[in-house]
């Protein structure tokens, strides 16, 4: 970003000497200015909302009329033994879901490589479209689909299994606590595999074709070419996304878990975001704000940690 802009400034400065109007460096700054303002408005200004965490705020009543309570809502997160256990359980789920997400983030990489190896272009496009579409379906509809597939009484899967004589009684796939983390990650990738692969496909297209040709001359087979050219070619992209996802470690989002939660799987499915939604979102803004403040702090910390780890391991950083 920085070097080309100074180059431009250089060239014009030398070329025509002092000019009328605004000097070029200010021009460039003015061009960037709207974006600075936008960033400020949408990313920094909302931080002022953190103030709500310190008041007994209720919507509709101005802040000036509400009581200042200091760190009450922060303390309430760990108010007593049972409450502590609840929070720990929720954190365990959060960490588990995120960790699974990060471990499985190689899936779209592998998928992109496999996709790029398909030589029949209509088939490749067909597969890509088919896997990308689920990304645009809301989680509520995904749940509706899951229900028609897996409900005990009338679900496609159970009916099939019973008709085939494999089982006698329907299995309740949805209302169960076993393997819920794996089920959730499976649904997640079903929905976002194709979408996640797009960036890697772009990275693969960016690899110099000459490298492949040279490898072919050297007698490399298909697998060797993937391993020695494609993979190293997209590793930087992978790492950038990995570091970003580490920064997002405790933000699992609500939608998916909200749609799939029920009494049986709640113990294992309730991630931090869902927990806040379930107990505070509708009626307790200060509490929700307090939790999201802590989340922001932890996220920033994790991001910098991942970044310095990357510096240590790969000698490169993204920030």
């Amino acid at each position: 970003m920085r070097s080309p802009s100074t180059n431009v400034a250089h060239v014009t400065d030398h070329g025509s000497g002092p000019r009328r109007g605004i000097p070029n460096k200010y021009k460039l700054f003015l061009m960037a200015f709207p974006f600075l303002v936008t960033t400020f408005i949408f990313y920094y200004l909302p931080i002022s909302g953190w103030i709500y965490a310190f008041y007994d705020y209720t919507p509709g009543i101005p802040l000036s009329d509400t009581e200042f309570v200091g760190f009450k809502w922060f303390k309430s997160i760990v108010a007593n033994q049972t409450q502590m256990e609840e929070v720990l359980r929720v954190l365990k789920n959060t960490v588990a879901m995120s960790a699974l997400g990060i471990i499985t983030s190689v899936f779209p990489v592998a998928f992109a490589i496999l996709l790029s190896e398909i030589k029949t272009s209509w088939f490749r496009r067909f597969v890509q479209t088919l896997t990308t579409i689920p990304n645009f379906i809301s989680w509520i509809l995904v749940y509706a689909l899951a229900f028609t597939l897996f409900s005990v009484d009338n679900g496609v899967v159970n009916t099939l299994l019973i008709k085939l004589g494999i089982i006698e009684e329907g299995i309740n796939f949805l209302a169960t606590n076993s393997n819920i983390w794996l089920t959730m990650i499976a649904w997640y990738w079903w929905k976002s595999l194709g979408w996640g692969a797009i960036l890697y496909l772009a990275a693969i297209t960016g690899i110099d074709q000459e490298l492949y040709e040279a490898a072919e001359v050297d007698g490399a087979n298909r697998f060797r070419k993937i391993w020695h050219i494609t993979v190293p070619g997209i590793i930087p992209t992978f790492f950038v996304l990995l570091i970003l996802s580490i920064g997002n470690f405790i933000n699992n989002g609500v939608d998916q878990y909200f749609a799939f939660q029920n009494a049986m799987n709640k113990d294992s499915i309730e991630v931090l975001d869902l927990y806040v939604y379930n107990i505070a979102f509708a009626n307790n803004f200060p509490f929700a704000t307090a939790v999201s403040m802590l989340k922001s702090v932890v996220s920033v910390f994790l991001l910098f940690m991942a970044n310095s780890l990357s510096k240590l391991v790969r000698g490169e950083t993204i920030i």
């Binding site: 460096k25 200010y26 700054f29 200015f33 600075l36 303002v37 400020f40 408005i41 200004l45 007994d56 209720t58 919507p59 509709g60 009543i61 101005p62 000036s64 009329d65 009450k72 309430s76 007593n80 033994q81 049972t82 409450q83 609840e86 229900f147 409900s151 005990v152 009484d153 009338n154 329907g170 309740n172 949805l174 209302a175 029920n262 009494a263 049986m264 709640k266 113990d267 379930n278 107990i279 505070a280 979102f281 509708a282 009626n283 307790n284 803004f285 200060p286 509490f287």
Partner: protein, 612 residues
Amino acid sequence: MRLKRTLILMLSLAIVVVMAACSKGNNSSSPSASSSSAPPASSASTEPAESASASPEATGLDHSETLKLTVFSTTANYAGPQIGWFAKAIKDKFNIELDIVASNLTGGDTKIAAMMASGNLGDIVIWGDDKNHYPNAIKGGLLLDLAKDGLLDTYGKDIVATYPKAIEKAKVAFGSGSSVFGIGNNVASNPTGPSEGKDMTWGPDLRWDLYQQVGSPEINSAADYLPVLKQMQALEPKNAQGKKTYAFSLWSDWDGNYKMTLAKQFANMYGYDEIVDTALYTKADEEKYYDFLSEESWYMKSLKLYFDANQMGLLDPDSLTQKFDDVVAKYKDGRLLFSWFPWMGAANYNTAENIEAGKGFATVPFKEEVMYSTGFNVYGGNGIISIGADAKDPKRIMEFINWFYTPEGGMISAGGGTAVPNGPKGLTWDVGADGKPVITDFGIKAYADQQNTQIPEEFGGGDYYYGANQMNFSFVVPAEVNPEFGEPYDHNLWQTTLKRNPNKLESSWREKYGVLTPKEYFVKNNKIAVAPQGFTGKEPLVMDKTLEQKNKLIGTVIQQYSWKMVYAKNEDQYNKIKQEMLDKVKGLGYDEVIAFSIKKAEELYEARKSVQ
């Protein structure tokens, strides 16, 4: 260096600009917001001059200009402009058009909170209950004081004259003695007797045809339904499409406020009801209560009942994962044999074809049953209608709201929620030769099949269902007697309706119980507990925020464990989960919630005394 300085300058400029923009936004709402004690005055002066009068009504207001009102309803299940016959009626009469904003369809409580935070709630505001949001909106200055400038006295004459107690309650409970920020729903002028229509709120209802086929066995207690239902299921194990039948099919998407929603109905049939958002059930007509989670609680007994039902194969295994609409579809398909509510089983299964074939749901009460009934409420219920502080033309809005409390307005739109409104006079109903209201043939069709009945263009067109008043607010209780006819507003209760030739199902039911309607059965056999709807004359008790948080958390725990208990594999596991739940809620502060709940119960008893 220069660049850096400019950068700082520019950034600070940006901050100033942004801050200015924001504070401007705040300013517009803060005059109304900050004046919590003095009611906002701005709205009264903004309306057009009253001089130009084209078609003066009794109130002398000018209706020549179309008034478009935004109705923010927390109870509506429809969003967008009001259409159909109701839209036509109010357009003709008041030249008013309604645009409905329904929080139910756009995020629920979150939407309400967003509207509250924005400082403008629209022209007419409808609150599902008078807790939390409504008092906060008053404190925040978001609602118009109807008592100010004689608004209510001049343009709300019928409300003041017929339902003075509702105004009194509004003043004392929420208006610090003098202001009126809203009027309660389902208001009545006469304080005695049950306020329900033909059916009560609960049944239970069974598939009448199957119940008769198994010999109509005597049922003494709630638990006695299980063996009977088992026999009925054996008689019809599969529906016409070959799908399995069940006695009970539950749904979890209505859970909230402290409970698994479907575990409280038997308590209601024993004359108890929960005090909302607390941990107590109280008797309708006595000063008796029990703890939600105690052994005698019908909440816990219901969980056991469902557990037993599940062991017997009577409970739909998809209960936990399906939604309400799935259950409705199952009733329609004839896959369920039991219904807690008349508006659930009968409303969905008793179609003309099924009735023709002699099949249908009907109320089968049990011997111990004492039906909980909400008494007539002269103070108005907990649902509230208000006018927004920034409303466009408060005089015309007040005049409009007042109309619903007159015989004319009451007849066209009495009811709300699951009740079917009467519709326009001359189309769905008319006045007979004897001066009594009677349903027309078109009306019978329209009430039975609301969504597929087309309304003639001259009455506004569209179908009957979406043409109904979509605000979803019941102004006057439908069982209230309309002074014009000496008959209730609700068409189900007209003598002409009750005596209309009954179908086979109805006649066999009437023959067995010797009465015309379920309500008559419960009243005649003295199996009813009417809860007097009174008022303490004080501001209602509310939980502080910390306790509210604990209560909410405890509620989610109870909900979750309730389902686990119902689906426990065996008795041992059932008891183990139950103990786990009790320990967990205790740890989360259940005792504090109980202490508050008891205070709330005492408040309720005090309120009841006011109408005895």
